[in-house]
Each structure stands twice: as C-alpha cells, then as structure tokens.
C-alpha cells in the first residue's frame, strides 16, 4: 500500500535532510506506529505520502502509484485515497459536527443523497450520534478528534495517516481514540500513526517504525515505544528487527486478537 525506496527529503539545499535514505514498505490493512523524537522527520514522511512535499530523491509509492509522477491535477485523487488526522483536529468552528463531516464530501462533489446517507453512518461509527448539531467548541477534545476522524474516514480512504492524533488528549481519551482507529483498521483501512504516546504503542504491540534524525533506525513487527537495542544512535543498517524484507504483497498477518487499551469501546457512550 505504501512503499518508500531510498527516500531523502531536504527542505533546503545543503541543509541537514529531514529524511535520509528511508526505505520501507507497509502492506494493505497494516497498522503501523511511527515513533521518534521531535524533529526526527515523522511529519515529513506523512507529508510526502500526501504529496504536500516531494521527496528530494528516492521513490514514494502510495496505492501502487509513484507519488512524484502524479500530475498536479490528479493530486486531489491521491488525497481522496489517503485520509488524514492531526493533533490539532483542524475542524471548521462555524460548522456543526455533521457539517464538518459533510464538508469533506461536499467539496469533492458527492451528490446530496450520498452525503445525507453516509454522514450519520460515519458519525455513528465514531460514537457521535446525538451530537450532530453541536459546534466544535461545544465538544471535548476527544470528541473533536472523533469528528476529525469521521471527516477523514467518510470518503473511505484506503490509507489513514494520523499525525499525533492523541497529542492533545488525556490518557483515557487517547485510549478511546486509539480503539476507534483500531476499529477502522480492523475494517480494512491501512493506518500509519505518528505518535509520542509510549503507553499506546506499548499496549498495542503493533509494527513500529522508528525515525531518528531522519534515519529509519527500527522496524519492529510487534514493537514497543522504546528501542530495545538501546539508544538510537545505532545505524539503521545494523539491525532493523524482524521486518528486514517487508511483505510487498498483501496484508501482513494481522494478529487475530488485539489487546484493547484500557477504555471500553466508545460507541455511543457519551450520548446517553
């Protein structure tokens, strides 16, 4: 679903690269954490996948297409296959919950009957039934992030990118959001989530990619937040864990039973 081959990204000529010779592959249906200290290049990697930035050298492939070679006017189609959520939610303050979700469909020209049918479904999925008419400033942070996830997911993208989606949330709410993302992943969407939330990564034990100063220093099948091989000065070439040859065909073997993070399933909980 996502393939990077020797990707280097330099924001300015001669500057230290934000990503340096990163190669990895993420299969359809995988859930992958992207960890690493601040400034290590996590957001940069996500932006490359959306073609908000272009790789300086190397190949970036999303859903089988070389992102660099998509003509400008086809970039919107790429972005419809790749949903996105952020730490700061990025909701429109003057639109209701339903309005924010419908916006994503309206602006890509989906017909009204589709919007009418799909928006309530997605709001139910993220557990916001009953709050459709609220405005973002009448919601908790966790609820706002649910709206953002609903908006990213409403077009049924193949890939969902999440850049520190729990960065502004308390641990319990973070766990709820994590469960929601997990549900979406179980339904078949590939998810790549950049995070600093060690608790979540450790609890989920999913694949972990670790960046350090632009280098991919770890690719671990069931990793935790911290690098078991010690501090991250190690070169990426030495040992990248069990995924040296990532699966390029089809989804990885997803564990049948995933650990739930402490909080129960969120659906409809706040509505009552």
């Amino acid at each position: 679903m996502i393939r990077l081959a020797s990707v280097t990204k330099r924001y300015a000529v001669g500057s230290r690269p934000a990503l340096c010779d990163v190669s990895t592959e993420i299969g359809a249906g995988e859930f992958v954490f992207l960890v690493g200290p601040s400034g290590s290049g996590k957001s940069t990697l996500l932006r490359l996948l959306l073609r908000e930035e272009r790789a300086t050298t190397g190949l970036v492939e999303v859903a089988g297409r070389d992102v660099a070679r998509i003509p400008d006017r086809k970039v919107p189609l790429l972005r419809r296959t790749v949903g996105c959520v952020f730490q700061d939610f990025r909701l429109l303050p003057d639109r209701t919950v339903a309005g924010n979700v419908a916006f994503a469909l309206d602006v890509v020209g989906r017909p009204r009957h589709v919007v009418r049918a799909v928006v309530p479904e997605v709001l139910e999925l993220v557990g916001l039934t009953g709050k459709e008419k609220r405005f973002p400033d009448e919601l908790s942070g966790g609820e706002q992030q649910r709206v953002a996830i609903a908006r990213a997911f409403v077009g049924h993208p193949q890939v969902l990118l999440a850049d520190e989606p729990t960065g502004n949330l308390d641990p319990a709410t973070s766990a709820e959001i994590m469960d929601l993302l997990d549900d979406i992943n179980q339904a078949g969407t590939t998810i790549l989530m950049a995070t600093h939330n060690a608790g979540l990564v450790d609890a989920m034990r999913l694949r972990v990619l670790e960046l350090d100063a632009g280098l991919l220093v770890r690719d671990e099948r069931r990793g935790g937040y911290d690098n078991p091989d010690g501090p991250s000065e190690t070169s990426p070439d030495i040992d990248t864990g069990p995924l040296d040859t990532p699966a390029s065909t089809g989804p990885l073997d997803v564990p049948a039973q995933r650990p739930r993070v402490q909080a129960p399933a969120p659906t409809g909980r706040e509505a009552g």
Binding site: P76, R79, L92, V107, P111, R151
Partner: protein, 290 residues
C-alpha cells in the same frame, strides 16, 4: 461542487469580507460606467455619421423666388464643374421631408418648422470631398444662391468634442480598471486569508483546484455583476434624464437610441463579470498555493 455547498461557501466568503467586496463593487461600477459612457459616445458619433452619410456633402441653398430658367442655368453650371460628380435638386417640400426624417427623434425641433421655412437646394456629390472648400468659395454669393454649406466642416467641432470625450471616458475606464484589479487582488487576498481553514481542509480531503477556487471566482464575478448592473442603471438614467431630457432639446443632431444603450449595457455586464473573474483568477494564482 454542487450548487448548494458552493453557494454556502460564497455566503461565508461574502459575510467575512463585506467591506472589501463593497469597495470592489463601487470601483467596478465607476469603471464600467465609464466604459459604457465611452461606448455611448462612440454610438453617438456613429449616429451623426449615419445621419451625414445619408446626405450629400455640399448643400447649395437657393434663394426663394429664383425662377426656373435661372435655376436650370445654375444646375447646368454645377453639373459641368469638374469637381462635381452629381447634382440633385430638392424642392422646399423635399427638404422638409428630409428634415422631418432626420429629426424624427426630436419632435420639438420639427414642430416649429414648416416647408416654407426651409430653402430649396441643390445637393452636390464631389469627386473628392476635400475640394469642398473650393466649391464653397466658388458659388457663395452667386445670384440666386442663399448659402453654400459644407456640412462636414460644420461638424468638425462636434466630431472633435465626441472624440475627446470618448477617449476621456475610455482612459478613465482603464484607470478604474487598474484600480479595480488592485482592489480585487486585495479582496481575494483577504478572502483567501479568511477562508484559509476551509481551503486547507478542502485540499486535504482531495477537492480539485477548480472547486477550491470556485467560491473566490464567484465572489469576484458577483462583484463584477453587481458593478455592471449599477453601471447599466447609471447609463439608463443618463439616457432618460440627460440625453432625452436635456440634450435632445438643445441640439439639432439626432441622438443615439435605446438600442445603443442596450448594446452598451450587455457589453458592460459581460466585460464586468468576465474581467472580474479573470482578475480573481490571476490573484488566486498568487494567493492560493496549488
């Protein structure tokens, strides 16, 4: 985008940017009114032209009471003149008919005049209209000749007046067009800033560039349309109160009619809408990163 959401986007844009949009409408109105005025002045020049083309260049007015033999002698002499290619005689009645036809739009002028008030005349077609002065000189003061008139020469000042005002109107329109562009540019910048969250999200969820630009283009086109309508209103009022209500009583020349006003109105509206949208698209290139 569907019309519904597009309209909603337009309303948000307008609401957040009322003052600037009003400023654009005012400038565009002035610009288009000037353009329309220029077009109408040109129409007026054409109206006068048509009126004169209808006529022979030189008119030899005959004294009342000239007898047939003398008239025939004068006619033969004129016809023999190498500068003249054609001579037509018009009796007092003929001249009166022509006068009524030429001034059909100014009934006030026609009302006080009868066939006897107008001289019978010869109308001369010249080989070269530039020889008019020679003819005027030769035949002025001849027996039986009341006056020799070169109608074009009489109209020189009028043409110069019309040309100067047409030019002035077009120059003013061009200056206002530059001002409009600057204002539209600023309006788009402010709108783009006010809608930056929306556009960022639109881009993120895969809206096309056309969809992202549409509300801005629409805002500008709407300002252009409003300015155009106001300018058309001004032209119509000018036609009713200034042209028909004032000038028609003061001049002997036929004035442009409503058809010219409607042509100018359609031009002004079309130019207003397309130019405003075009200017917006230039401004968007600068203010909306693709």
């Amino acid at each position: 985008m569907r019309p519904g959401p597009l309209l909603a986007a337009l309303v948000t844009t307008l609401r957040r940017n009322v003052a600037m949009t009003c400023a654009v409408v005012v400038t565009v109105t002035i610009c288009l009114a000037m353009l329309g005025a220029g077009l109408l002045l040109r129409a007026q020049a054409h109206t006068v032209d048509d009126f004169l083309l209808d006529q022979i260049e030189i008119v030899v007015d005959l004294q009342d009471g000239l007898d047939d033999a003398d008239r025939q002698a004068l006619r033969d002499e004129l016809a023999a003149d190498p500068l003249v290619v054609g001579v037509t005689y018009e009796s007092k009645q003929d001249v009166y008919e022509r006068f009524r036809r030429d001034f059909r739009t100014s009934p006030d002028v026609v009302a006080g005049v009868g066939p006897d008030d107008l001289p019978a005349s010869f109308r001369l077609a010249l080989t070269d209209p530039r020889d008019a002065a020679v003819i005027v000189e030769t035949y002025t003061g001849r027996d039986g000749v009341e006056a020799v008139r070169d109608q074009r020469a009489l109209l020189g000042p009028l043409y110069r007046f019309l040309d100067a005002f047409t030019l002035g109107a077009f120059v003013l329109a061009a200056v206002q067009a530059v001002a409009s562009f600057v204002l539209i540019y600023t309006m788009i910048r402010i709108s783009a800033h006010a809608r930056r969250r929306e556009t960022a999200i639109m881009r993120l969820v895969g809206a096309t560039n056309a969809a992202i630009r549409a509300p801005f283009m629409l805002e500008s086109a709407l300002a252009g349309l409003l300015g155009g309508l106001l300018a058309v209103g001004a032209l119509v009022l000018a036609k009713i109160y200034l042209v028909d209500g004032r000038f028609a009583r003061q001049t002997m020349f036929p004035l442009f009619g409503w058809d010219a006003v409607w042509v100018a109105a359609a031009t002004v509206l079309a130019v207003g809408v397309t130019a405003a949208a075009g200017m917006a698209s230039v401004a968007l290139r600068r203010h909306l990163r693709a």
